[in-house]
């Protein structure tokens, strides 16, 4: 599997480490149901069979956190972007 890093270009997946699903929102610790929200945030996953968005770290490269769009049924990778850019877009 090769992953397109937005900074380094297409690199072997061995250079990257995998964290998990992208786009999880850290809940507000002061919310009345914070315990439940944090349980879901830490432990519950969609675990989709199909196209997912996930966080990878280019640990043996530019050390950027990137969001990779990947199909878990075929391992096909259809896109990647800096995680910081994805966060900024989500905030807007």
């Amino acid at each position: 599997m090769r992953i397109p890093c937005p900074f380094c270009g297409v690199r072997d997946s061995q250079e990257f480490s995998f964290l998990g699903a992208a786009g999880l929102q850290r809940p507000d610790p002061n919310a009345p149901d914070a315990a439940k929200l944090f349980h879901d945030y830490v432990h519950i996953r969609d675990n989709k069979a199909g196209v997912t968005r996930e966080l990878w770290l280019h640990s043996h490269g530019c050390r950027s956190w990137i969001v990779v769009e990947r199909n878990t049924l075929t391992h096909e990778i259809t896109g990647s972007d800096y995680a910081s850019d994805v966060m900024k877009e989500a905030a807007q």
Partner: protein
């Protein structure tokens, strides 16, 4: 037909003409008391113990392919109970005790071989850690032997004891551990369940669990709707996909684990050997092939095939302890999809839906648990109470903080 030495001799004299298929191929009934989704080792053993221990009759097992295609036929066949955590150890010891009587119980040769499981340690601190694990086992009445370097050498003299990076200082041995023939376990449980009246519905995929007013009413399958009073999900790597049809979200991620088998060799490795400085385990099958595996491919996947970097990693770990097998040819390697839970320990529990039960999170240690998993899941489905040895394997332990983190890596399934 009951298997015995007499039936073997009798059939030899009659030209092997009277052997019958060991299970039926029934059509689905419109309604069952209990439907088990997943005809793997755990699903079949659940059906078997529901019939045997609880006297229940009207049971079906749904299997989307054929029996033995899934992880029960894809693992490295290791059986052991050398666990540390109080939530896990009694459960796996219960399982090992069931393994010890399984062939008589099933009247089926599962080739259970208690040849020993040896975990190597490579440093002083790792010896202390293994001593702690051995002590935890002995406190639960499970025998463990901490072997020094010379004692290990007596058992497996061909290891690279003076490896420059990972010298072998000794090992923790569980002599009662070993291996079993994985396919025979599936077939034995299938035969046992079928002969007690369980309908094994192969090539019948569960499409949708139907729920009305918070209560399960049946399963929509590829062969039509089947009503059921109770439904158990035992779908391993596909647990999330089955459970989400009932609206459940689970603390599970699916990853691939690869396994390998070499060409057949004369007897070489007398027990199961694991490499302590990485994650590698190897044994030799009765046919002579070396059966081995290592870590997960570290990203979520539903593709039952792995990538090459992990093949390289596995071979490197093999060379670190056993350079003598460097010229052995690999016969084949394959992948299976693991239901990795967030703390690395299994879940056997009720769900928020009335009549819907779940058995998942086996990570890559499910084979050894096959008997106890079915035993405890059957107990739960039949009585609505957790079996005492499985009472900590609750779904809500992630909410209450009672996680069973055997490896101590936190909520990162790919690190367990």
């Amino acid at each position: 037909m009951k298997y015995s030495v007499f039936s073997v001799i009798q059939q030899a004299l009659r030209g092997q003409k009277d052997w019958k298929p060991v299970w039926r191929t029934p059509d689905p009934q419109p309604e069952y008391d209990i439907i088990i989704i997943g005809g793997g080792g755990h699903g079949l053993s659940t059906a078997y113990y529901l019939a045997k221990n609880h006297g229940l009759k009207n049971i079906a097992v749904l299997e989307k392919n054929y029996i033995g295609l899934g992880n029960v036929g894809r693992n490295t066949t290791i059986v052991r109970s050398n666990y540390l955590e109080p939530g896990n150890l009694p459960f796996y010891e219960h399982s090992l005790k069931l393994w010890e009587g399984l062939e008589q119980d099933l009247n089926y040769n599962v080739m259970m071989s208690q040849r020993g499981v040896l975990n190597l340690y490579h440093s002083d601190s790792q010896r202390d850690d293994y001593a702690r694990r051995g002590n935890a086992m002995m406190m639960h009445g499970v025998k463990a032997d901490l072997l020094n370097r010379e004692q290990v050498r007596e058992v497996v003299p061909f290891l690279d004891f003076d490896n420059g990076r990972f010298p072998i200082h000794g090992g923790l041995m569980q002599w009662r551990g070993g291996t079993a023939r994985h396919d025979a376990v599936a077939w034995g449980y299938a035969r046992g369940a079928d002969s007690r009246g369980v309908d094994l519905l192969q090539n019948t995929e569960a499409k949708q669990i139907r729920v009305e007013n918070g209560k399960v009413i049946g399963v929509e399958t590829s062969r039509g709707f089947i009503r059921a009073k109770k439904v158990g999900i035992v779908a391993a790597g596909n647990t999330t996909r089955v459970a989400e049809t009932a609206g459940l979200r689970l603390p599970i991620e699916s990853y691939i684990l690869q396994a390998f088998v070499s060409e057949g060799l004369k007897p070489l490795i007398p027990c199961v050997v694991t490499f302590g400085a990485g994650h590698f385990y190897i044994s030799q099958s009765d046919k002579g092939g070396l059966v081995f595996g290592a870590s997960l491919d570290f990203y979520t996947s539903y593709a039952a095939r792995g990538n090459l970097p992990n093949v390289e990693e596995t071979i490197e770990e093999a060379m670190a302890i056993m350079p003598s097998i460097s010229r052995v040819k690999l016969l084949r390697h394959w992948g299976g999809i693991m239901d990795m839970s967030m703390d690395g320990s299994p879940i056997i529990d009720k769900t928020s839906i009335d009549g819907l039960y779940i058995n998942c999170g086996w990570c890559y240690g499910g084979f050894k648990a096959t008997p106890a998993s079915g035993y405890c899941f059957a107990h739960l489905i039949a009585t609505d109470q957790s079996h005492p040895v499985a009472e900590r394997l609750k779904l809500n332990r992630f909410e209450t903080g009672h996680v069973i983190d055997e490896v101590g890596t936190g909520a990162q399934p790919n690190l367990h």
